[in-house]
């Protein structure tokens, strides 16, 4: 198995996913299969091959610095679980 249960637990915490014990087992198995599959690439000899940053061989896609209309606020806020017509409302953010 290429992934440990602890690694999956950590990743699920980082992804804010609460998994049951059964789901953790299942995910460890399934994700492990995927990682093993990806690891096949390691068998290829990449000596002398430039690392690539993007699959498309394209660079320098720019737009000009021009302001375009933004969304009307009610439309921007519409999909939020909670808002007060001005701002999104979320559970208290502490710290900063």
């Amino acid at each position: 198995m290429s992934l440990t249960r602890e690694e999956v637990e950590k990743v699920s915490l980082l992804a804010r996913l609460r998994l049951s014990e059964a789901e953790l087992d299942q995910m460890t198995r399934q994700l492990g299969t995927i990682v093993e599959y990806v690891e096949l690439i390691a068998e290829v000899d990449t000596t002398g091959v430039e690392p690539m940053a993007h699959v498309a061989d394209v660079a320098n896609v720019f737009r000009d610095d021009e302001v375009r209309p933004s969304l009307p606020r009610d439309e921007a806020l519409r999909g939020a679980p909670n808002h007060d017509d001005e701002c999104y409302r979320v559970p208290a953010v502490m710290g900063d």
Binding site: R16, D65, E86, P91
Partner: protein
């Protein structure tokens, strides 16, 4: 008696670039808009949207890197920095990880008061990233939730990271002052701290000398620094606090996790901040939505050539070509490029850098300050002021009369001759002046006796009397003629 130690400081500075629109979408970056009125599907992270990079943001960033003598990468790419926070709608920030657009470089820190020697502070890197939104805890409403404004989300930021080369809190402040000046000269940011266009975090620890062995204490990151003065104060406080903690606990770097503390400027203390869990596990990976940026060696060379004179070079020129002292060149260069250009023209036309510097600082800059205007709005041109200075230099006007003339020129936007005419200033001819001096000498035998006894200063009283009789007389001339007449007696 505390142990000998060195203070080690590194700074991270976030600078908002002066673009009209955001980094990856066309929403406005204008400060002060109503909350959530400057957002679109791209910057609030709607699925299926595609970010496209702002060309101007990249150009401004390259201009900055060139001015800071950074190495500019011919190839740079975008990465996703993953973390959850309510002000980060996509749950990742588009940033740069292993291939930032520039690295190294640095800035020479100078102290106009010469309390410290100039030192070169190296940079680790300068990279580009998008800003997050703003969260406000709503205590007033007595509600246990926070309000999120995403207007700022996606605004272009440049992050400047220094090496831990800074050795004193004062040096940290001076570095920031110089950096801000450079950025202002380049026009890449307005650097307004109140509006969040320039934000500073500081990392600090100590190297304590334990009988020859150097012991590093745990690194503390200080946040919530709202002014350069606050940076200096917070670091002064931290250095003392860390030494106390070290002497009490003996904790070294690595013994405890890196701590984040918030600075309370009003109370003058730093306080531990609550930790974001796993905050260091950002799982960076290349952003598949954005293609890399390539720049040629020729374009990099062109960017370097376009930098122009930086503040340090201008100060050196003012000192070298016009004989100004370090304090004066600093004041003028801090006034901005337009003020420097005004000075250069004034000094060249007047043929006297020090006279130009005096009038610029004592009169022109004071007027700018009083009227809250810029040099571009100042009604007296450098050429007109230079004519006035020529009259002062030639003895036709003294300092005070010259001031009166300048005030008239400022108020009515007229030239020197017209201003002098309107003030009734006309030059007094030599015969009249000599006659006046003879009259004064005859009326003041006691003063004459003093002068003859070697007290040349006593002649000052004669000048005062001469000016009462005729405000147009030149005090220098009166003095010269009186002394000559007395000597010939």
């Amino acid at each position: 008696m505390s142990k000998p130690h060195e203070v080690i400081i590194g700074l991270e500075i976030h600078v908002q670039l002066a673009t009209r629109s955001k980094l990856f979408c066309g929403c406005s970056t204008q400060f002060g808009a109503e909350p959530n009125t400057q957002t679109c599907p791209v910057c609030i992270g709607m699925p299926g949207t595609l970010p496209v990079m702002n060309r101007r943001a990249y150009e401004l960033a390259v201009r900055t890197a060139a001015a800071l003598d950074c190495e500019i990468a011919e190839f740079t790419k975008w990465d996703r920095k993953n973390y959850y926070y309510p002000d980060l709608p996509k749950a990742y920030q588009i940033s740069q990880y292993d291939l930032p657009f520039s690295e190294n470089g640095g800035l020479l820190v100078h102290d106009p008061k010469q309390q410290i020697e100039p030192r070169f502070i190296r940079l680790i890197r300068v990279h580009l990233e998008e800003d997050a939104g703003k969260s406000m805890h709503d205590e007033a409403a007595g509600r246990d939730d926070s309000r999120i404004d995403l207007n700022r989300a996606g605004t272009p930021l440049m992050e400047v990271v220094t090496q831990p080369d800074i050795r004193t809190p004062l040096e940290a402040r001076l570095f920031l002052t110089e950096l801000k000046l450079v950025l202002t000269y380049l026009g890449v940011s307005d650097c307004n701290m109140q509006e969040g266009s320039l934000r500073v975090d500081a990392n600090i620890n100590l190297h304590v000398d334990e009988g020859g062995e150097t012991v590093a204490t745990p690194i503390v990151e200080v946040k919530n620094l709202n002014s350069f003065r606050a940076v200096e104060r917070a670091l002064e406080y931290e250095a003392v606090r860390q030494l106390d903690v070290y002497e009490e606990t003996g904790q070294r770097i690595g013994d405890v996790p890196k701590q984040t503390r918030g600075w309370d400027d009003a109370a003058g203390v730093s306080r531990a901040m609550r930790h974001k869990e796993e905050s260091s596990d950002y799982r960076y990976f290349p952003d598949p939505d954005l293609v890399p940026v390539r720049i040629t060696a020729e374009q990099i060379a062109a960017a370097r050539a376009a930098v122009g004179e930086r503040p340090a070079e201008l100060r050196a020129r003012l000192e070298r070509e016009f004989g100004l002292g370090g304090y004066d060149s600093d004041v003028i260069v801090n006034g901005g490029r337009e003020l420097v250009d005004y000075f250069l023209e004034l000094a060249e036309r007047a043929g006297d850098g020090k006279l130009a510097s005096n009038w610029l600082q004592q009169d022109v800059m004071r007027a700018l300050n009083d009227r809250a205007i810029t040099i571009g709005e100042y009604p007296v041109s450098a050429a007109a002021l230079a004519e006035l200075l020529a009259k002062v230099k030639g003895g036709e006007l003294d300092r005070n009369r010259g001031r009166d003339v300048l005030a008239d020129m400022e108020a009515h936007g007229r030239g020197v001759e017209a201003a002098m005419a309107s003030l009734g200033i006309e030059s007094v001819d030599d015969d009249a002046l000599v006659a006046l001096c003879r009259e004064l000498i005859a009326a003041n035998p006691a003063i004459v006796a003093d002068v003859q006894a070697g007290k040349a200063k006593a002649a000052g009283a004669l000048i005062g009397q001469a000016r009462q009789k005729n405000p147009n007389v030149n005090p220098g001339e009166v003095r010269r003629i009186c002394l000559e007449l007395i000597e010939a007696m």
